[in-house]
């Protein structure tokens, strides 16, 4: 089916050098509005640098990143980044944490309240509303961080292996939840993971990065119906294919 959604994010010949060490080599691709894109690649192939560039945390050596046609700028555009390490603010309770991004953007009080309530109800975090991060389990804390990112209704939501530490049952639950949030809020998501099964389970499209210096090795479109079954034979075929492309072990 021809994807008629407009381009939200455009990356043109993005290159990054640390001194003379080339980390990202002339990467170009487009992301549609509301698309769920997964990026996989061998460990240490520069995935994190790739994300830091997309989130404007560091300047590219050359090439540019456009959101809705203009050069990306955290102050003007609405970017959200879910880091791999725990990133909730210990001194804020769950509600204040979710509201953090909106406070920075100085959104109107009415909108802010309404959006935070929506996320809390969507993710079923009512009972944790007033508890502090150190009172939460690892999974609840990570869900709150993801809630904070979605609450900003971002133009681009970047997620760096958010479920790395979770056991498989919790991981399935969280993956279903992120798909539900993505569908409900229509956010454009870039999801980085080393777990290929997770990528095939979540993504509409997978970008496979080569080893360092990272280039885009291949794009794989996934048009399986949702919710996808990990043991389904078409699913396993795609998973095998992507694994062979990476061949890191």
């Amino acid at each position: 089916m021809k994807d008629k959604r407009i381009n939200k994010v455009e990356v043109k010949n993005l290159t990054k050098k640390f001194g003379d060490l080339l980390v990202l080599d002339n990467v170009s691709f487009k992301i549609k509005k509301g698309e769920f894109l997964c990026v996989v690649g061998p460990t240490g192939c520069g995935k994190t640098t790739f994300l830091n560039l997309l989130s404007c945390l560091c300047e590219p050596t050359s090439g540019d990143l456009l959101i809705d046609g203009e050069p990306a700028n955290p102050k003007k555009h609405n970017l959200a980044f879910v880091f791999q390490e725990p990133s909730s603010f210990p001194w804020l309770n769950v509600e204040q944490n979710i509201q953090f991004g909106l406070d920075i953007k100085k959104t109107r009080q009415k909108d802010k309240k309404e959006r935070v309530e929506r996320i809390i109800s969507l993710m079923g975090l009512e009972q944790f509303r007033n508890s502090y991060p150190h009172q939460l389990s690892v999974s609840t804390e990570q869900r709150q961080v993801i809630g904070r990112a979605f609450a900003m209704d971002p133009d681009l939501l970047l997620m760096d292996e958010p479920y790395g530490q979770m056991d498989i049952k919790m991981r399935y639950y969280l993956e279903d939840e992120v798909v539900r949030l993505w569908k409900e809020l229509g956010t454009t998501v870039v999801f980085i993971t080393h777990n290929i099964e997770e990528a095939v389970y979540l993504a509409e499209r997978i970008l496979i990065l080569s080893n360092k210096p990272a280039k885009i090795k291949e794009e794989v479109l996934i048009d399986l119906p949702r919710p996808r079954d990990v043991a389904d034979e078409k699913f396993v075929k795609i998973r095998k294919y992507v694994t062979d492309q990476i061949k890191w072990w």
């Binding site: 945390l57 955290p74 725990p86 502090y132 150190h134 970047l158």
Partner: protein, 270 residues
């Protein structure tokens, strides 16, 4: 299931035994030994008063201004007044300065050289110069205490800001927060535990340098009182002064730790 009840009550009895009974016992024994040593004459009377004497010296001193013509309450009041004013000024100036030095490179490079020259000089070394400049009145003592409390405040709030978790800063950055916004929304809150540790050290330092200041250049206060105790060979007055100084110091520390628990309760008790 009653088995685990006994195991836990055992635990509770232990806590009671080690936490209360033995400490109280030790203090009583300590006082008895002290009393006997002085009574028997192992330690001569003019060196150390008997604990029992301390009781009536305390009551007597409450009203009797001799020998340094100021009663115990007025000494305590003047000491508190001096040390708290010096301490508060140091906290109000020191902590924000530490934050800014830690956060803005410009301020850091401008202020640090002067701060690094002054820092190693202990507060006591400033007393002679202060006396020459400000005499031995209230202002001189307050400056000495200010200085002794100022340094720990700056150091701890500076270290606190520097230890801010880089991931939290990046979260704020991607949300488009300005550099100052990140300072107020992320830097300062995450530095609070260190800042409180700094305040505790500053309070201890100001209380200690108060005694030094009052012994070298003062006409009232607890330090002055024990100094006079030496001049008039009144060991009971000296020990009374030391006990009162110790008690107030411990009281300050206790209040501060309770305040910290309340103010920074989000900190998990890791």
């Amino acid at each position: 299931m009653n088995k685990n009840k006994t195991e836990n009550t055992l635990l509770k009895r232990d806590k009671w035994k080690y936490g209360v009974i033995i400490p109280v016992l030790t203090v009583v024994i300590f006082l008895i030994i002290w009393e006997l040593m002085v009574r028997v004459g192992v330690i001569p009377q003019r060196y150390l008063p008997k604990p029992s004497e301390l009781g009536n010296v305390f009551i007597d001193k409450l009203s009797n201004p001799r020998p340094e013509d100021s009663t115990l309450p007025s000494n305590i009041l003047s000491s508190l007044q001096v040390s708290l004013s010096g301490f508060l000024v140091a906290v109000v100036l020191g902590i924000p300065l530490g934050w800014f030095i830690g956060w803005y490179k410009g301020i850091n490079r401008f202020v640090r050289p002067i701060f690094e020259i002054i820092r190693p000089i202990p507060p006591i070394a400033w007393i002679p110069l202060t006396i020459l400049l400000l005499g031995i009145g209230f202002r001189a003592k307050v400056f000495i205490i200010f200085f002794s409390a100022f340094v720990p405040c700056v150091i701890n709030s500076y270290t606190g800001i520097k230890l801010t978790n880089i991931t939290l800063i990046n979260v704020a950055k991607t949300c488009g927060a300005s550099y100052f916004q990140i300072l107020t929304k992320v830097g300062i809150p995450s530095s609070l535990p260190m800042v409180f540790a700094g305040i505790r050290i500053a309070l201890g330092a100001s209380w200690a340098s108060l005694v030094a200041a009052e012994m070298l250049a003062a006409d009232s206060g607890l330090g002055f009182m024990i100094m006079m105790g030496r001049q008039f060979t009144r060991p009971d007055l000296i020990v009374l002064g030391m006990v009162v100084i110790g008690l107030i110091g411990a009281l300050f520390a206790f209040i501060l730790s309770k305040l910290e628990k309340k103010m920074v309760r989000w900190r998990s008790i890791k």
